[in-house]
Amino acid sequence: MFMDVQGPSNALFGRLPMILDLHYDNPWIMVALSMVVIGGIGVVGLLTYFKKWGWLWNDWLTTVDHKKIGIMYIIVGLVLLFRGFFEAAMIRTHQAMAVGPDSPGFLGAVHGYLTPFHISEIFTVHGTIMILLAVTPILVGFMNLIVPIQIGARDMAYPFLNAVGLWLTTVAAALCMVSLFVGSFSHAGWVGLTPLTQLDYSPGVGVDYWIWIIQIAAIGSTVGAVNLIATILKMRAPGMTMMRMPIFSWTTLATNIIGLTSFPLLTVALFLLTLDRYIGTHFFTADGGGNFMMYTNLFWLWGHPEVYFVVLPAFGFLSEIIPTFSEKALFNHTSMIVATMGIAGVSWLVWLHHFFIMGAGPQVNTFFSIATMLVGIPTGVKVFNWAFTMYKGRIRLEAPMLWALAAVLMLIGGGMTGMMLAVPAINYVSHNSVFVVAHFHNMFLIIAFAIFGAVTFWWPKAFGFYLDDRLGRIFFWLFWAGSVFVFVPMYALGFLGMTRRLDYIAHPTWWPLLAMEVVGIALYVASVAAFLLQMYVSIRDRKQNAVRTSDAWETSRSLEWLTPCPPPFYNFAATPVVHSNDEWAWRREHGMTTLRAEKYNDVHMPKNSMVPVVLAVFTMALGFAGVWRIEWLFVASIIGITGTLIFRMFQKDIDYNIPAAEVEAMENRTLEQMDTQAQENVHQTGEIADGPVRDGQAQQA
């Protein structure tokens, strides 16, 4: 029933005996391994030294608090972002070395220092990590962290499911780290087009790692999407109509509708590929009646919506940051909502633009070309609305605003090149060139800039102190300079005709531009150092940089600034009633900035659970067994997962009530630590347009 595979294998260990034959003589693997081992020992040592294991387990690993889950998502994402960046640096330096027939080779490579096998693994894992295991978790983390507070909810609709989503993502990330040392990763590109990923052309375990990592991460994203949609639709505070919801919550809703509807497609496509690879079906083969272009279609049917899955929350960040630092409401709030949902809607109709060159006729290509260009309209509207938000504003160029402005400028450039690639006649000459690579990195840089802006913006909310401003600005300028130096030459190389995914570059005339990209990478390295230093200095000086009021930036606008920094685990002592699009700005205007509730009620909260961690352990075993074809372990993990879920279904003791008196006591303690005088005095008048309260829409709680 199962396919014969190359290399040694047995019933007990599956294909694991293969690892004896793998590339452990490669110094790069060993450097990476030692970094991970030293880092791991360091973390374990510190935890033991400071006796923090109980704290870690009780306060973090078993938590169902959406804020902590959000923070853990972001940490996982940042760690993987760091690894993905390393790979980017390796690709860039290798390509700058492997130019022309006379360039020297090291470590067994004919040119440069990476063999074709190795570099193709690196660009595959770079893409997979950056999209699925770095950017996605960071964005989902922010959705978790901010959205419930922003809509005035106590927690997510399904706190337990939330933890499950986090742990599935973490398992995918862990499996990806394991693949670096145990076996190898796919060398077929992050897209994994068939038939290159079929057993004939990818006989190792690399593609299997890629499949199982994505499958597990995709399930995590799907359950997360269910949760966020339910939360946004059902748990908004009284008075917060859909049209009053802040844009970040809207983009989260749009994103998760995309996620919920598109991730199953990927799951199905990869499942069929799994069948091809494991039991020899012919869904996506060239022979046996298979149709491998069907995989390409299915993949991009998920893949393109996924692009908007990651870019929309970034637009949401910008829509929160720009009004705050322009001290003005977001221009045309309704129009922004329409634009967001418009982008989400059109995202389903554009997938074929990833393979215009497959030989489809002009009619088919034109349909997808026009659909793709339609996306440009709402995106353009967003840019103009941000610009008009700044217009007649009072702009403070604080660090988050720097990131946001840079992101808007990046969006103009990326949008321009995107509209160029959308035209088939142009695509026929630029497809698969590094022009495309520069374009989508440009788009991802928008997300990166928005993310770092959001980190700086919401850091005081999440942790109660500011990030160091001076280092933050140095980080920004280095990152900006790095982006310019890497991607402007890359656009130029695209015009010169350079193809993506090259191991060896045959044309020496490209060298100067490749060398410039290495300069950019050096700037990026410096920016990473500045970021790490910023984290260190900020945490060291957290006492001096503490936030004294709920409104860290003094001109913030939405509901999350109506609760202390950091928010208590129950978010709001009393559920707020919403009066306006920008509730916190409205309250500032009307002198209602006190955090003291008139009356305290019992608070109903979910209990911590270790079930998600147990599920994670079994899922990890499942993924590992799947990759190495260890049948008994695979079956055992499925039984384990099913058993754990059944156990959870019969668990009755999953929530508790905090009595009103206790809530009041806790609130008083928090308020004592804050600067109550400053909190009462954050009034500012003349900030919002609509003066009178629209009582009709504000129901009393």
Binding site: G105, P116, S202, K328, S369, Y391, K392, F495, A689
Partner: protein
Amino acid sequence: MNKDNLARFAKLCLAVGVLIVLAGCSNSPVQDPLWFLNPNGPIARASIFYLVVDVLLLSIVIVPATVLVIWTFWRYRRGGTGKYDPTFNHSIPIEVIVWGVPLLVVVALSYYSYHGARDVAPYNPEVLESVDSDQAPLRIQVIATDWQWLFIYPDQHIAMSNRLVVPTGRKISMDLTSVSVTNDFYVLKVVNQIYMMPGMRTKQHFLVERPGTYQGFSTEFSGPGFSWMNYKMLSVPPEIFDQWMRRARLSGNRMQWQQFTEFAEPTINTGNQWSLYSDVDDDLFAHVIRAVNDGSLKYSWPARFSEDMTSAEFKKRFGTGNAESNPDGTTADEPQNIPDR
């Protein structure tokens, strides 16, 4: 960081940037840097025409957007000259303009997109129809293997591997397929890209106007030998093209099914080697498609390629050695004094 430091840093970046760009210029005094913006032939030129139209139409939106963002920031920053007015947060006329103008631009672009797609459609490009020619198009069949190219001239009964020679000014009609995985046919500045898929046939048409040497390569990642799938396309006057055909017929290398199955073994063409073949099986192209479909032509790759490409084992298994020893015994690489383009 204060303003002075910032300005100094910006100047430094600018200086370094300019120096590096200048270094780039001095490094390539004669060689053509392969701009795809410098097309040769109606197809590639049509693509560049649409590129220019696209950019010009887009600038109707892009330029005002950029100016607006920078100008508003400058004027309304704290300490700027703009007057603060937080009540300005809705405007129907602006709304109509920011939705309407991009919409009109997209409508215009759609028109050009459709005509562009027809003009350079790989199967029947309209720009080639307007070219008068009494000669029938030259037929060429292209087969991508792991990781080499075979160009079959069915009417001439010859073939070339890793080298393409076409007559200047004559329409070329190509059929393309692949043996194992998807590749992508592309000759920079002349031929637009088209997928080559195993078990399937795609088509491409083009015409080269000037003689010269052009760079062809695969643009769809197809495995470890992908980076070495470079070949030269020579565009030569008809009489020299005939010389090439004669030279191939005299080469004495056969390309029947048997030889093809050997040729198609996974090979990384690190030496940039090319060959000529006479006595080519007329049915070879169709046979490859049939054999891929029924699964009888298939090469499994080893679980991992040797980590040491410089080893003798690697050379024996995948390498094709040195370019200096062409199998037809000639050393002259280029037929005449034809400039590189």
